[in-house]
Structure formats: C-alpha cells, structure tokens
Subunit: 415 residues, 2 copies
C-alpha cells in the first residue's frame, strides 16, 4: 500500500486507521506541511472544476474548465487503474473508487484527502445516493457491494452478492454497473450470476428489495438513461442488452436484441471491455458499442426498438454525446486507439476522424459543451478541443491521464 496523505478525521477502530497506523509519522509530517502550504481553501465557486485521473502515478489533478488549467495535484492515492469518482451534492468533495479497494474522500477546495477507507480488495465502481448521504462501492473481490456513510466513510452495511452455484453451493459474484436511481435506490448487476439487484438506500436495513434472475450471461456494466427512467445492462456472452423500466418495476428486465440483420460486421478481438458509462444516450436514442465488433447499435429509448447500426472505425470504448446532442464522439480499443471519430446525428454519418496519439480514451465535454477534454495516455496529455472547430485550445500536461470528471455530474442521477 502506498503512502496515504492527509487523513484528518481521527476515527479510531475503523479499517483505514488500522491499515495506516504504521504510516503515522509520515502522516503527521504531511499534515503539518499541508497546514503550512495549503491551509487556505480556494475561494471559488465549484461549478467549473473537474478531476482527471493520473492512472499510473496514483494521483489526480483538479482542473478549471473555464481557464483550462491545472489547479492542484493530489498524490499518493494508491492504484488508480480503472479508477472512477463521484461527487458530493455540494461539489465540495469527491470520492475515488479504486482497483486496490481504497476509497479516498478528497476536499476539492483544499486539494486534500480528508477521509479514507479500504472497502474491498478489488473494486470496479461506485455511486452516491440521490440524497447524498451514502456512497456505495461495487467489488470484484469480495463479491459484494458496501454502503458507506458519505460524511465519515464508515462502512454501514455489507451486501454480499450471493448466488447458488451449479451444484447448489453458495457463491459470491463480482458486482458491476452500480448506479443511483430515483427514490434513493441503488441498482447493480451480478457478473457471475447474471442477476440485477435493487437496494433501498435507507438506514438501518439498506434492504435488497428486488433480485431479478437469469437476465443474461456475464453482465459487464450498466447505466441509467439520462432521465433516470431506464437501468440498462450489457452482457459479454448474450446477444442482448436488458432494460429495466424504473417507472414500471413489476415488468422486470426486458431483453433487447443486439443483432442487426442489415449490418453483418465481423468479430474482432476484444481489446477492452466497453463501458456502459460510455454509451451515448441523447435525443431519445441510445448509441451502444457492440462487444468485439466495429459497430454502434442505435435504439429508440421510448420503446427500445432497433434503429439500425453505425459502422465505426474500430471497436468503440466510449460513445460520448455533445451536450447539445448533435454529435457523438467515439474512442476505440486496441490498435485503433489513436483516433477520435465524430458521428453527426443530424447528418446521419461520420463526419470527422481526428488522430491525437496513442491511448485516446476518455472524452468529456464541458457542461455547456463549448470544449471537449480528451485523454491521450501515451502522450501524457489531455487535449482541450474547441467542440465546433476541433482546434486544440490547450494541451494539459497530465501523467497517463484516464477518466475525466466535471462537477456537474454531481447533479445527474446515475453519475
């Protein structure tokens, strides 16, 4: 475990304290140093701030998306490979969900870790409840989700993802696709069991209120559509996605085919598992990357009818709609990951291919869409592009950048 700076909450007896007891001297010196150097918070609104993960360095940078500059770097967070974050409702704090099972709570005004907890051995994602009181982490190992107090990071509830194996034995599944939904609910999928569960995020029970079984083989991720109505899960080994209509839960998950009779596209290697967080949902349509195919499938989210497919340059990892919905920006896995492709929804075709260097991965638009931030990992840069002219406005020096998260996500269900 790396050095973990800035634990300012003294909560004897919790897991994090036990784990970092041995680092106390380092910690103390850090706290003193940070008091001298960074005691003053930023006097700033927080609506224009964002966090970019420095995947290999174990650090994150806090950026200003008006001036397009780095404000602070927060280091020593641990293994940030595949790390994701969520924001507190007030945009003051963010929470990291890390491959090493640690969760760091960072004060964005001070650029300091204020609490931390080890909530598993291998985490894949997290969410924050609609009321902001609870965060939840989905773990591969142990197969569970945990409900955690967002103030103190105290673990309030462990929900093991148990299921019955082929010979009747009780197993624990990896969990994926954890999101917050309306009425303070969490939804997630059991990767090894092919199930979707709903948890009511009200204390003290945090009850599992629904378990839907046999939804498909190996769900790998899920999302909530922008309006918070549908929970949609994708599968590694089934030719469908499922949609769960949160307005009509009694209907249960409905299967929607991912086959397109009009566009046979050959299978290619699966370089990377696509992200459902990267599905584009805009203007009543969902743009869904196909597993091991160079194809995006389009659905009408009102009735989940197929609207055909788009042939893409490579296998899509992220399909990110512009905030005004006119275009979808695409990034790719494997050998084609040096390229960004733009699909124009109004014109119904690919209009642009931009090469930015190896490791083009995450795209996030500023909230109103005037600029796009693009991580290019092998270049140690985030390119800030003018959304409309595609000119580079700024290159930010960021070590092995991956996920980019702006604070406006704090206000959207499912993010």
């Amino acid at each position: 475990m790396g050095f973990r700076p800035g634990l300012l909450f003294n909560r004897p007896g919790d897991q994090s304290m036990k784990n970092i007891g041995k680092s106390l001297l380092f910690l103390l010196s850090f706290v003193i140093a940070s008091t001298l150097v960074m005691a003053k918070p930023l006097a700033t609104g927080t609506g224009h701030l964002g966090v970019i993960i420095e995947r290999n360095a174990g650090s994150v940078v806090i950026v200003d998306n008006i001036e397009h500059k780095i404000l602070k770097r927060v280091s020593g967070l641990g293994n940030l490979s595949h790390a994701t974050i969520v924001y507190s409702k007030d945009e003051r704090y963010f929470y990291t969900f890390q491959r090493d099972g640690w969760i760091n709570k960072v004060d964005i005004l001070y650029g300091e870790v204020v609490a931390q907890v080890k909530a598993g051995d291998n985490a894949i994602g997290g969410a924050i409840s609609q009321d902001g009181k609870y965060i939840s982490v989905s773990n591969y190992k142990p197969g569970d989700i945990k409900i955690i107090d967002s103030q103190t990071l105290e673990i309030l509830k462990v929900i093991p993802a148990t299921y019955e194996g082929g010979t009747g034995e009780s197993l624990q599944s990896r969990t994926v696709g954890l999101v917050d939904g309306p009425e303070n609910q969490f939804y997630f999928a059991l990767m090894d069991a092919g199930e979707i569960w709903q948890v009511d995020a009200h204390p003290p029970e945090f009850k599992v209120v629904h378990k839907w079984k046999d939804v498909g083989d190996y769900p790998y991720d899920a999302l909530l559509t922008g309006n918070g109505r549908y929970y949609v899960a994708g599968f590694l080994r089934s030719n469908w996605v499922v949609q769960l209509d949160l307005w009509n839960l009694e209907k249960g998950p409905q299967k929607v085919s991912t086959l397109d009779p009009n566009l046979q596209s050959p299978k290619v290697p699966m370089y990377k598992v696509p992200h459902l967080s990267g599905w584009g949902v805009t203007n009543g349509k969902a743009y869904v990357p196909m597993i091991s195919e160079e194809r995006l499938m389009i659905y009408d989210v009102n009735d989940w009818s197929s609207q055909g497919s788009i042939k893409t340059y490579g296998t899509v990892v992220f399909a990110v709609p512009r905030p005004d919905g006119k275009e979808i920006w695409l990034t790719f896995a494997g050998p084609k990951n040096d390229t960004l492709q733009i699909y124009d929804i109004a014109k119904g075709k690919i209009t642009k291919k931009i090469k930015l260097g190896k490791g083009v991965m995450h795209v996030q638009f500023t909230p109103k869409g005037e600029a796009a931030y693009v991580s290019v990992r092998r270049k140690d840069k985030v390119f800030v592009l003018n959304t409309y002219t595609h000119e580079t406005i700024k290159e930010l020096e960021i070590k092995g950048p991956s996920g980019i998260f702006f604070t406006n996500r704090a206000h959207v269900l499912g993010l």
Copy 2:
C-alpha cells in the same frame, strides 16, 4: 431608485457610477460595515446553493438545498417584480435581470453585490453566453437587447429591435424569450414585430446573423429544449407555437398548431401570461400551457406532432417536470393559484392536488429531484416538499417569494 449596496468595482464613467454617485456616503458606510461583518467568504462547494427572489422586498435569499436553510439575505437590489437570474459558469456569481432595468452581479460566497449597471428602463429577462463571457438582457423599454461583459458589467453592444411599422416608419419592439444556444449564439423574439433574431455572441461585432419575420402575432416568451436543439416561441394571438431547429437553421421557424380537435376547452380570462420557461420538456415530449385555457398541450419533440392535451385544474403558469421525468408539477394563475397539481406521465393522468395557500407559483426541484421547492407568495413561505411522499420537509420564511433558481442551471444551455 433604492439604495444599492456593495459596489466594489470602481469603474468611473460607466452608467451605474453616474447613477449612484449620489449614494456614495451610504455606499462607503455599507462597504465598511460589510467588511467587518461579512469579510469571510463561505468555504463551501456551490453545487447545492440556490437563490430565491423576495419580490416585494427587493431582496434575494441564498439557500442551501441539502440542509434546506437560508444562508444569507442580499437586500436593496431594487424592483424585483418578475426578476430572473442567471449564474456564472463557476457558480460563484449570479446576475439579476430586473423590471427597473438594473442588473446586479452578486458574489454568492460573500453575499454581496460586486457590480451593477442600469441597462434599460424595463427589462424582462436575460441570458448568459455558452462561454460565460457575456450576459445579455432583453428590454421592453427601450426595445432592444444589450450585450454586457460578464466580468465588469460594461455594456459592449446595444442591438435595437427595430422593425418597420404599418406606414413604413422605423419602430422598436419589446424583446422577449432571450436564451443562449450552442456555438455561443443568442436567440430572442420581437414581441411587437413577430420576429425571431439570432445574435452571434463574438466580439467586437456581436452580429445579428438571422432575422426571421412573420413568425406569429405577439410572441410572449420562448425556450430552448433541454438538449439545446429547438428554440420554441409561444404567441398571445396566434393558434400556433413555432419551433426553430438549431441543427437545420436553413429551414427557419416552423409553425405547430395549438388546437386540439379532441379537447374543446372554453376560454377563460388571462390572469397571467404563462412562462415558456415553465414549459415542461421531458422524455421527448413538451407539455405546453395554453393561453386562456385550462389545458396543457403535448407535443412529441422529435417531429412536433400533437400528442393530445391534458385537462387541468386551472390555466397553467408553470409546468415543471421532475428531474426523473415521471411527473409534471403544475401551478395556476388567478383564483386557482392556491393549488399544485401533479400529472403522472407513466399513468397518463392527474394523480394529486395539493393546496398550499394563495400565490403558489414557482416550483423548482433539487438537481437530483429528491425535494421540491414551492413559492407561496401570500404566505411569505417557501415549502420544501419530499418529492415522493409530498410531505413538507421544511417551511422557509421568505418575504413574498417568487422565482427559485438552483446553481445547477449554470450548466444547462438556455437557462
């Protein structure tokens, strides 16, 4: 003109300085007092803050929508009847657009006015450009819009809303429905001329790039659909609305009938001009209040086809969708303004009628939708309701409350 506190920017020669020169002594004493009392900014994120207009008192309150409490009151702003505000992109500042033509720029962390300008004699609304650099005000008197530097409040450009009268004379129209659109454009309508104009918010020209004429009689307001695609204007004396597709500007404004052959509803007095800002657009449908009728018209925003109407309790002023889109909450004009009605989209019917007292007007949901703030003017209260149970969580004592604006609006085109 009332006393205007807290002008901290010394900008000799601008309009506001000329106007408040005579208040200098008051001003000085206020600045000193405020330095003593409020010199420390709030050390806080700003994602959970909001502003509520105290219409008759000439003040606004800054609220916290997590704890549901009043943080500060900012007084002496002038005539706030029909006042509206927009936020800076960083959520640090808000700008008031007032009936008396004044614009106040308020620092939300200090609760203080930091700049002000008189930009007309009678203003009806305002907008902030996508890039955040310019605000724009629409005036009834003089009939124009003005483009103003969002930092300094310097007036950069006056755009008179000129049109040709019946006998060829040049007249100036009242302007309404001013919004910011993608690619840093402003759109607005000329009430007396029946025109829609587009302004390119790039200096130094701030050029009027389009004028669409003969769109209808007496446009009274307009909106941008949530995805930023359609600019839609309503008319006092035409049986249609128009939609302008910003993806296909060459098509120009298209008329969409407001008549419903299947629901003849009698004409009632027009107690109040409805707000297009109060049109509900959610899940691909627009819910549009009809002028002088107790009816909401439903359109499919993909093709603007009529989807029928909903018979309502009174003439609708605001139709506000829940953030998860499942319900529309309605408020009414005239004698029925003591009531809130809830239309359930999933069930396709009115499910609830709640009486809160005379002067129920504005409804704003918290960003993720767990609570609804409702202004009840004659009770001098804002009720905070649990969105799902409709229980009152809190009653805030606010003098003659009208508009309620949360900071997440900073991140949405058209708000």
